[in-house]
């Protein structure tokens, strides 16, 4: 018992401080105000957690500070919004992605089939560069004149209503050659990669690679004629289904993007932390510019799905249970309406927390991750391909951030400032919780979220200490400053963060 107390001392200290603050709050504010501050804090904390958990996992396992995480969050928001409001952009880009991916898979298979003598003779470094250049040229030709901006602009005008579908969408006669060119580009890339990787694929996985690749390519071409009907269909189904689809798109795109970033950019830089930080920082800017070039600089407003959007005489719902039947836009919490969609964000954060906790605690992958946090070299020496685990964890972290972005879109809006802001808060949360600690990331995110919500309320009502005649008004930036203040305090007392291990 005592030892359990000692081990969880940081948690206990945090709890005590939080309880004291809560008590002070309860005395200062009416209960309904306190409740809504807490719920707002939970909502923000949940979003911060979705970014911070990935940040912490990635840092813990591979010592990489991924400053692109906020950018991924933003991409998630934009992609989710696009999928939800008008899926045209996704439907027109998906075949491209499938074609390239499938091409790479088939290319790797083909590369594996080439006789070793031929490879030695022809696929040396200079030919490899030529191969990659050729692939790049095909890629550029494939994308030549393809107007992503117009597709996204169509999104802007579509607020749920039907828009003339032919607008901005290319006819199949132009579109199919693009898919073909991208397939070829992927093929060349795959052949090149099969040589660079040098790891001989096993017979069993070789066949599977080829089949997966062919299926992907076939799917890419098969999707072409369905772009228009699929869009019409998606716009006709309930917004709930589109929202779930948006979450899925965020999850997959985030994971895919994460894996791509890890394999192509991070992997060559392991053991060079400064370069990695510069790289991920730069990637964050690149992602922002990418979003700018596709969606423009204007922000978007995303509606909440119907599940959280009912209005009428019976709203706001008197409590959570009746909300399950009437789906009101807001729920009455001690007499004050609270948007029901934010409940969803809280629930999402909770579900993700439990899911990752189970993954870490119960699965073999989790054991490997926890072991790798301490000593990834030793994990490697046990016969485990740690690099693959790195890629997987990076992908998981980015997928979490992107899902967070999708979930945040109806709450925070879809705009270019999204990434930097959440990146900063999530980073503060991770530092407070202790770099590399998963529970620490969760506690840190919660603290930061609460501080923001509490700070916002203080800005609204001002601070009035007992000896003052009237409340002192504060500038809104106090809410932002408060999180940094907490971080400074925590670092003064515990330089490794609340749950950080001593180095």
């Amino acid at each position: 018992m005592l030892s359990a107390l000692r081990r969880n001392r940081p948690l206990l200290v945090t709890l005590v401080i939080v309880l004291v603050v809560l008590l002070l709050m309860a005395r200062r504010f009416e209960p309904k105000v306190t409740a809504s501050i807490l719920l707002s804090g939970l909502t923000l904390g949940s979003l911060y957690f979705l970014v911070a958990s990935g940040l912490s996992l990635i840092f813990g396992l591979m010592d990489v500070l991924n400053f692109a995480q906020g950018g991924i969050f933003m991409i998630g928001a934009y992609l989710g919004f696009t999928t939800y409001a008008n899926p045209r952009l996704i439907l027109n880009v998906l075949p491209f992605a499938l074609a390239i991916l499938g091409g790479v898979q088939v290319g790797r298979w083909l590369g594996g089939l080439l006789p070793a003598r031929f490879k030695k003779r022809w696929l040396d470094t200079s030919f490899l560069i030529l191969l990659f250049l050729l692939s790049l040229v095909l890629l550029l030709i494939g994308f030549r004149g393809f107007d992503l901006g117009a597709l996204a602009a169509a999104t802007a005008t579509a607020t749920g209503g039907a828009v003339a579908t032919e607008l901005a969408q290319e006819p199949a006669a132009v579109y199919v050659p693009r898919v073909a060119l991208l397939t070829a580009a992927g093929l060349l890339l795959g052949i090149g990669l099969s040589r660079v990787g040098k790891v001989q694929m096993r017979q069993r996985t070789q066949g599977r690679t080829a089949i997966v690749g062919l299926v992907l390519i076939a799917a890419a071409f098969a999707l072409v004629p369905f772009r228009t009907p699929a869009e019409a269909y998606l716009l006709s189904v309930s917004s709930n289904i589109r929202f779930i689809l948006a979450l899925l798109v965020g999850l997959l795109a985030g994971g895919g993007l994460g894996a791509l970033i890890e394999i192509s950019f991070i992997r060559p830089l392991y053991g060079r932390p400064l370069y990695q930080i510069l790289l991920t920082l730069g990637l964050g800017y690149v992602l922002t510019e990418l979003v700018k070039s596709v969606w423009g600089t204007a922000g978007y407003y995303m509606d909440t799905p119907a599940f959280f959007n009912a209005r009428g005489d019976r709203c706001p719902s008197p409590n959570l249970w009746s909300w399950f039947s009437d789906h009101c836009q807001s729920i009455s919490v001690l007499g004050r309406p609270f948007p029901s969609y934010r409940m969803f964000i809280i629930a999402l954060g909770l579900v993700m927390f439990i899911a990752i906790a189970l993954l870490l605690k119960r699965t073999r992958l989790g054991i490997i991750i926890r072991a790798g946090v301490q000593d990834s070299e030793m994990v490697q020496a046990l016969g485990i391909n740690v690099r693959r685990v790195f890629t997987l964890v990076f992908a998981i972290g980015c997928a979490l951030a992107a899902v967070g972005g999708v979930a945040a879109a109806p709450f925070l809006g879809v705009n270019l400032g999204l990434g930097a802001e959440i990146q900063l808060q999530a980073f503060i949360a991770v530092v407070i919780g202790g770099m590399g600690s998963f529970v620490g990331a969760a506690v840190g995110a919660l603290l930061v979220g609460m501080a923001r919500a509490f700070g916002d309320q203080l800005v609204l009502s001002g601070i009035r200490l007992p000896w003052m005649d009237e409340a002192v008004r504060m500038s809104p930036s106090i809410a932002r400053a408060s999180t940094v203040l907490i971080m400074a305090l925590v670092l003064l007392i515990r330089p490794t963060g609340l749950f950080g291990k001593k180095e």
Binding site: R370, M378, Q380, A381
Partner: protein
């Protein structure tokens, strides 16, 4: 006896430092081969080179007749080489069970080898659900050895198992390693010459990054000049009789 492992003139660099300048050795199947010697002679680097953690720039490493130098560490390990590193590098945050579980190469490895492991190290059964970081130094060393026993490894690379342990615990580890030799071939790096001489059949002396001499352990223990020259005067007389042959 055929050689399970052969190392031919490997050169290994750590950053710009030329650590191994032509280490050669061969480990016959079913034996315990020791690398006694001074600090900084390159013994640990030799093991790490074999394991692929510090891949050699030149030379060959042949395991079971196949060249493994330049292969990834996980690939080398998966071929059946277990590594028990210096300083008992167990996973402190993981329980004893998880420390063993992570070493499984196929499902059920731990179940198959559990009896052997718990017979060698009963303490591990007692503290099965305790985090590795809470074990004593000796128990951590036992866990590190046990971890290498979980999959069916044909070769074990054991680095300084006696380091920082009390004599009575060293005796237990010696007993365990001797039993273990029935299941796998062992390449042992050990500064404690008494321990090395008790266990090993053969020895290679690595000094300044090169193999300088080799032979039967039974001959080395009685060769005072050689011991004094390479292992330091303090070791001479440490094990004048060869206890393993008693």
């Amino acid at each position: 006896m055929t050689n399970l492992l052969e190392v031919n003139a490997i050169h290994t660099f750590i950053n710009q430092f030329h650590i191994l300048e032509g280490v050669s050795l061969s480990v016959p199947e079913g034996s315990i081969t020791a690398l006694p010697g001074r600090n900084g002679a390159g013994k640990t680097t030799t093991l790490r080179s074999i394991m692929g953690l510090n891949p050699p720039r030149e030379g060959q490493i042949i395991f079971e007749g196949e060249e493994i130098q330049g292969k990834a560490a996980y690939d080398i390990a998966a071929r059946g080489i277990g590594y028990v590193p210096e300083y008992r590098a167990i996973f402190r945050a993981l329980t004893v069970e998880e420390n063993l579980k992570i070493a499984e190469r196929s499902k059920g490895d731990l179940a198959r080898r559990g009896d052997l492991i718990f017979e060698l190290f009963p303490d591990l059964k007692r503290f099965y659900h305790l985090p590795g970081g809470q074990l004593s130094g000796g128990q951590q060393q036992m866990l590190a050895i046990a971890r290498a026993l979980v999959p069916e490894n044909r070769l074990l690379l054991v680095d300084e198992p006696s380091e920082g342990l009390a004599p009575i615990i060293i005796d237990a580890i010696v007993a365990a390693l001797r039993q273990l030799a029935a299941h796998a071939t062992v390449l042992l790096v050990e500064q404690n010459f008494r321990m090395a001489s008790q266990l090993a059949d053969r020895y290679y002396i690595v000094d300044d990054g090169q193999t300088v001499t080799s032979g039967q352990m039974a001959d080395l223990v009685n060769d005072r000049p050689l011991i004094t020259k390479y292992l330091g005067a303090g070791y001479a007389g440490a094990g004048l009789v060869h206890p393993a042959k008693e």
